[in-house]
C-alpha cells in the first residue's frame, strides 16, 4: 500500500519532543506510507483558543487550513491537536471565509493510532518492546475523539510487551495546556496522583497518544524523583529490537 | 412588600419575554419515557425487589387475619407508647386489637404527636419501578409518614402500579385536593458522614408495608433485608 500522508507536527513536539514525530514518520513509512511534511505549518492554535484568546488563535487556524487543504490525509502525533482541528475549528472559524474548508479538513485529519487502526486497518506494525507499560487514555483522545481501544489494539500486538492495567485510568493527568502553568499546584497534584496509580500498576513506562501529557508527567516524575519513564506510542511501535529509539525523550 | 413583588414580577417577566423572543423556538420533548426504563413484566416481583433494595420491610399476607398477625408482630417489636392511626374504614378492623395493647390516637382527633411510636396508614398506591409507596396528606396527615420512628403502611397487592409516571397520574386523579403528595422509598437515611449509610436520620428508621392479597399460598413471611449492596452511598 502506498498512501500519501501529510504529517502535522504540533509546535511543542517540533521544539521539545521531536523524537515522537520522528518515530511517527518511521512507523508510517514502515507500513508503506509516503510521508510529507508541509514545511509551512506552524501550530493548530490550541494554546490561544483554550486560553480565551480566540483572536490570536484564528489567524493561526486559518494558516493551518491553508497549509493542509491540498492533502487528502493528514496524520498528527497528538490527540489533542487533532481534536482542535476536528472539533473546535468549526466554532473558531465559523465566520471565517475558510470556515467551510476547515469543517471538511477536520474529517481528513487523524490522530496517529486512529489512522493506523481505523484508516489503514493495521494493528501489528512488527514492533517489539519487552517492558512493563501502562497505557494512559488521554482526555481529548477518548472523550473528544472517541479513541478508546485503537491504541490498545496496537499495543497488544507488540512483541514482549507487558501491559499493566491502570487504576482510575480515565482521570486527567493534569496537563491541560496553559492550566499546567496557570494552576501549577493543581496540575502537579493531579500528575502526582497519576504517578501513584502508575507505580501501583507496576509500570516501567507510561505511554499515550498525547505527547503533551507525557511532557507534563515526565516533568513530574523528574521533580518527584520517580523511576517511571514516559514514551510516546509511536516510539514503542518504532522499536523493533526491544530498545526504545529514544528512551524517555519526552 | 406586595408592591415590590409586583414590580419585580413585571420586570422579570419582561426580561424573559424579550430574551425568549431572541431565542429559537423549542418543540416539546420527543423521547418517550418508555425508551428510558426497562419494561416491567411482573409488577409484584419488581416491587418486592426494589422495596428490599430501599431497606423497606414488606410482609406479604393472604388475608385480613394474616395482616393482623403481621401488624401485631411489628408492634410487639416497638417500645411502649402511643400509636397513631389514619381514621379510615379500611383500618377500622385493626383498632380493637390495637387498643388492647397500647394507646391509640386517630387522625380524626388531630395531628400526630411528637412522641408517637408508630403510625399506621394506608397508601394510594405502591410503585414497582422504584419500590415506593405513594402517600399524601390524605393518609393521616403530613406528619404520619415522617414524625414517628416507625411507619406502617397497610395495602393491597392490586394497588401496585408499574411506574412512577402511573403513580403521578393516579395521585392527580385520586387526591387532587391534597396539599402534600409524596413517593416514599424506604426509611429515612443519611450518608453525610464519610458516605456511610445510617438509617433513621430525621424520619422513620423503619418503613413497614403489609401487602395483602393476590398470592394465597404465601404464608406470613418476613421479607427483611439486612444488607443491600446498592444502598451504600446515600446522601
Amino acid at each position: 500500500m502506498t498512501r500519501k500522508v501529510a504529517i502535522f507536527v504540533p509546535c511543542f513536539v517540533d521544539q521539545i519532543a521531536p523524537q515522537a514525530a520522528i518515530d511517527t514518520v518511521t512507523v508510517l513509512r514502515r507500513i508503506g506510507c509516503d510521508v510529507i511534511f508541509p514545511e509551512d505549518q506552524t501550530c493548530c492554535g490550541q494554546p490561544g483558543f483554550n486560553t480565551g484568546h480566540w483572536e490570536a488563535a484564528r489567524p493561526c487556524a486559518e494558516h493551518f487550513v491553508r497549509v493542509f487543504s491540498p492533502y487528502d490525509t493528514i496524520v498528527c502525533p497528538s490527540g489533542s491537536c487533532t481534536s482542535m482541528v476536528r472539533k473546535h475549528y468549526p466554532e473558531l472559524l465559523a465566520s471565517s471565509p475558510l470556515g467551510g474548508d476547515a469543517v471538511a479538513l477536520g474529517q481528513r485529519v487523524f490522530e496517529f493510532a486512529e489512522f493506523l487502526v481505523r484508516v489503514a486497518a493495521i494493528t501489528d506494525v512488527g514492533a517489539s518492546f519487552p517492558h512493563a507499560v501502562a497505557y494512559h487514555p488521554s482526555c481529548h483522545g477518548t472523550r473528544e475523539l472517541g479513541i478508546y481501544d485503537e491504541p490498545m489494539q496496537l499495543l497488544r500486538a507488540v512483541r514482549g510487551i507487558d501491559l499493566r492495567p491502570l487504576a482510575n485510568e480515565s482521570e486527567c493527568c493534569g496537563f491541560g495546556g496553559m492550566f499546567s502553568t496557570k494552576f501549577g499546584m493543581i496540575s502537579a497534584a493531579m500528575g502526582d496522583a497519576k504517578a501513584v496509580s502508575l507505580e501501583k500498576a507496576g509500570a516501567e513506562y507510561v505511554t499515550t497518544i498525547d505527547p503533551s501529557c507525557l511532557m507534563h508527567l515526565g516533568g513530574i516524575f523528574g521533580a518527584t524523583r520517580r523511576k517511571l519513564k514516559t514514551i510516546y506510542l509511536a516510539s514503542i511501535l518504532a522499536c523493533m529490537d526491544g530498545t526504545a529509539a529514544s528512551e524517555a525523550r519526552l | 412588600m406586595a408592591n415590590a413583588s409586583a414590580i419585580a414580577r413585571e420586570s422579570i417577566l419582561l426580561r424573559i419575554t424579550r430574551a425568549n423572543a431572541r431565542g429559537r423556538r423549542v418543540p416539546s420533548a420527543k423521547i418517550p419515557p418508555q425508551a428510558i426504563f426497562p419494561p416491567i413484566h411482573d409488577v409484584r416481583a419488581r416491587f418486592l425487589h426494589e422495596s428490599a433494595g430501599n431497606l423497606m420491610e414488606v410482609f406479604e399476607t393472604a388475608d385480613l387475619s394474616e395482616s393482623a398477625t403481621a401488624l401485631e408482630s411489628v408492634l410487639r417489636s416497638l417500645p411502649a407508647g402511643e400509636i397513631y392511626v389514619q381514621d379510615h374504614p379500611d383500618l377500622a378492623c385493626f383498632l380493637a386489637d390495637l387498643k388492647r395493647s397500647r394507646p391509640v390516637r386517630l387522625s380524626s382527633q388531630g395531628a400526630i404527636a411528637e412522641n408517637s411510636q408508630a403510625a399506621l396508614t394506608l397508601a394510594h398506591a405502591f410503585v414497582a419501578q422504584s419500590g415506593s409507596i405513594l402517600s399524601s396528606s390524605m393518609c393521616g396527615g403530613r406528619g404520619a409518614s415522617i414524625v414517628p420512628p416507625c411507619h406502617i403502611v397497610y395495602g393491597r397487592a392490586e394497588q401496585i402500579v408499574p411506574e412512577i409516571d402511573d403513580a403521578l397520574a393516579l395521585a392527580q386523579r385520586q387526591v387532587p385536593e391534597a396539599s402534600y403528595i409524596g413517593l416514599i422509598s424506604g426509611s429515612s437515611r443519611t450518608a453525610d458522614i464519610e458516605k456511610i449509610l445510617v438509617q433513621g436520620a430525621h424520619g422513620p428508621r423503619r418503613l413497614v408495608v403489609i401487602l395483602e392479597g393476590q398470592d394465597p399460598d404465601f404464608a406470613v413471611s418476613r421479607n427483611r433485608v439486612n444488607t443491600v449492596e446498592s444502598a451504600e452511598t446515600f446522601d
Binding site: 480566540w54 481529548h140 | 409586583a6 385536593e177
Partner: protein, 470 residues
C-alpha cells in the same frame, strides 16, 4: 488579578498538597462512582434519558414566562402566596419582613443552594432570628461556620472524628468511637427540638411544576419533610429556572436526579407540596409562600451561548467527576457553587472580572460533559467564559503580549521558525548563565513543579531538512 483569584491560588496551593484531604475525597468519590455506575445500569437507555431531560429543560426555558405565570396562578388558587425577587436583597427582605411580621424567633431550614447564594440565613440572623440548618451535612458545616463543601454532600471534607470532636465542643455530646450512627442520633435529638419549636420552615425546591402548581423536593433524611410539615409557616425560596412544564416530567427527572446525585434509584422522600393545609387536613403549615428569585438568571436567557447553564438541576455529578474538584475541594473555589458548573455559573452571574479565573481552573478533560444528566456542554461553556473574560476583563499584560506574539508568529512559517529558534536560545542561555528558576527564566512557571525541560539537539523541522526527507 482579582481578590477572589488570589484567594483561589492560595487555597489551591494548600489543598493540592494535602494528601489526607486527597485520600478522604478519593474514598468518598470512589464509593459514589460505583453507586453511580450501578444506578446508570438500571436504565434501559441512559443516553435517551439524558436527551429527554435536556429537551424538557430547553422547552421549559423557551416557555419560562408562561410556566412561571401558570405555576403562580395555581399556587395562588390554593391559598399560597408568590413573591418575585429580582435580587438577593429583595428575596431576603421579603423573608425577613415576613418573619418579623409573624413574630418568628426560630427557623428550620432544609438544604437549599439558592438560600446560600442569596445569604438568607445571615440576613435572618441579623434580624434576631435563630436559623437551624437541618440537613445533617449542612448542620455540621453550620456548626463549623463554614460554607457547604459540596452541593449534595456539604460535609464530605470532614472525617467522622472531626465531626465527633465538633459535636463534643458545640453540642456537649460525647460520641463513642465517632460512630456515624451515634453521631446521626445526636444530631437528630438536637434538631428534633428545633423542628417542633420553629415558627417557620424554609426549603428550596428541586423543581417547580407548572401544570399542577407544585413544589418538588428531594431529600433522603426526611428533614425536608419535617421542615415543610411541622412549622406553621412554610417558605420556599427558589431560582426561577427550576420550573418544568408538567408533573409527568418528574417520572424521568426524579430517577435521573437521584442517580446522578448519589447513585440511588430514587431519593427516599420525593415530595410534592402545593399550598397550606386544607380544611380537610389535620396538619401542615397554615401559610405557604414561594419566593421566586432571579438574581442574574434572566441575564443568561435568550443567549444561545449562555442559556444552557440554566438547565442545571444541581445534582453534583460534574463536581464528583471533576479531577480539579477532587484535588482542591469545594471551599477553594470561594464561591457558593463549586466545581465545573460553579466555574460557569459564578462568573456568568456574579461577574467575569471578579470570577473569570474560575473558568480557567479546569484542564478541559471533558469528564463532566459525559456525566451531566441535562447534557450541558460544560467544557464548551468554560471555553466561552474564557473567551469573554479575555474580551472584557483585565488579562495580565504579559499574557496579552504573549498571545499577540503567538498571533504574529503562528500565521507564518518563517516567523514561527524564528520565534522557535529564539525561544530555544533564550532558554539555553538562561540556563547556561545560571538564571534557571529566576524571574528571567521563561519556563519558571513550568519548572516550579516539574523537572526542567530538556531541549533536544535539533527540532523536528531541522531533522526533516537534514535527513528526514527520503
Amino acid at each position: 488579578m482579582s481578590t477572589a483569584a488570589q484567594e483561589f491560588l492560595q487555597q489551591a496551593e494548600i489543598k493540592a498538597s494535602d494528601l489526607e484531604h486527597r485520600a478522604l475525597i478519593q474514598r468518598g468519590m470512589a464509593s459514589y462512582e460505583s453507586a453511580f455506575d450501578k444506578g446508570r445500569a438500571r436504565f434501559a437507555d441512559w443516553e435517551a434519558a439524558r436527551a429527554r431531560l435536556s429537551q424538557i429543560k430547553e422547552e421549559a426555558l423557551a416557555s419560562l414566562g408562561q410556566n412561571l405565570v401558570e405555576f403562580e396562578k395555581r399556587i395562588v388558587e390554593r391559598g399560597g402566596q408568590v413573591h418575585w425577587a429580582e435580587t438577593a436583597e429583595q428575596a431576603n427582605d421579603y423573608v425577613v419582613e415576613l418573619a418579623r411580621a409573624r413574630g418568628v424567633k426560630t427557623v428550620v431550614k432544609s438544604k437549599s443552594m439558592v438560600t446560600e447564594e442569596i445569604h438568607l440565613a445571615p440576613a435572618l440572623e441579623k434580624a434576631g432570628v435563630t436559623v437551624w440548618e437541618t440537613d445533617l451535612g449542612e448542620f455540621i458545616v453550620q456548626l463549623r461556620q463554614e460554607r457547604p463543601y459540596h452541593i449534595v454532600t456539604p460535609a464530605m471534607h470532614l472525617s467522622r472524628y472531626q465531626i465527633a470532636e465538633l459535636f463534643r465542643e458545640k453540642l456537649g455530646e460525647n460520641v463513642e468511637d465517632a460512630d456515624p450512627a451515634k453521631l446521626v442520633a445526636a444530631a437528630r435529638v438536637a434538631l428534633r427540638k428545633a423542628f417542633f419549636s420553629a415558627e417557620m420552615g424554609i426549603s428550596g425546591a428541586n423543581f417547580l411544576v407548572a401544570d399542577t402548581g407544585m413544589v418538588a423536593l428531594s431529600t433522603n433524611e426526611g428533614n425536608g419533610r419535617l421542615t415543610t410539615s411541622i412549622p406553621p409557616i412554610h417558605v420556599v425560596v427558589t431560582g426561577i429556572e427550576k420550573v418544568i412544564p408538567r408533573l409527568s416530567d418528574l417520572a424521568v427527572f426524579w430517577p435521573m436526579l437521584a442517580t446522578s446525585g448519589t447513585g440511588q434509584p430514587i431519593t427516599t422522600y420525593s415530595t410534592l407540596v402545593r399550598g397550606p393545609r386544607t380544611k380537610k387536613e389535620n396538619d401542615g403549615p397554615r401559610e405557604f409562600h414561594v419566593v421566586l428569585v432571579d438574581n442574574g438568571r434572566t441575564g443568561l436567557l435568550g443567549n444561545a451561548e449562555t442559556q444552557e447553564v440554566l438547565k442545571c438541576i444541581r445534582c453534583g455529578a460534574c463536581l464528583n467527576i471533576c479531577p480539579i474538584f477532587r484535588h482542591v475541594g469545594g471551599h477553594t473555589y470561594g464561591a457558593i457553587y463549586p466545581g465545573p458548573i460553579g466555574s460557569i455559573f459564578t462568573p456568568r452571574t456574579a461577574g467575569l472580572r471578579e470570577w473569570g479565573h474560575l473558568s480557567y481552573a479546569c484542564s478541559l478533560c471533558n469528564a463532566c460533559k459525559g456525566v451531566c444528566p441535562v447534557k450541558i456542554d460544560l467544557p464548551k461553556q468554560l471555553l466561552l467564559a474564557r473567551r469573554d473574560f479575555v474580551a472584557t476583563a483585565n488579562v495580565k499584560p504579559a499574557e496579552r503580549a504573549g498571545f499577540a506574539g503567538f498571533r504574529w508568529a503562528t500565521a507564518s512559517a518563517r516567523r514561527f521558525r524564528w520565534i522557535g529558534w529564539l525561544g530555544g536560545k533564550v532558554a539555553s542561555t538562561v540556563r547556561s548563565i545560571g538564571l534557571s528558576g529566576t524571574s528571567f527564566d521563561p519556563t519558571r512557571a513550568w519548572t516550579k513543579y516539574r523537572a526542567p525541560i530538556e531541549f533536544p539537539r535539533q527540532t523536528f523541522r531541522a531533522w526533516w531538512r537534514s535527513n528526514g526527507k527520503r
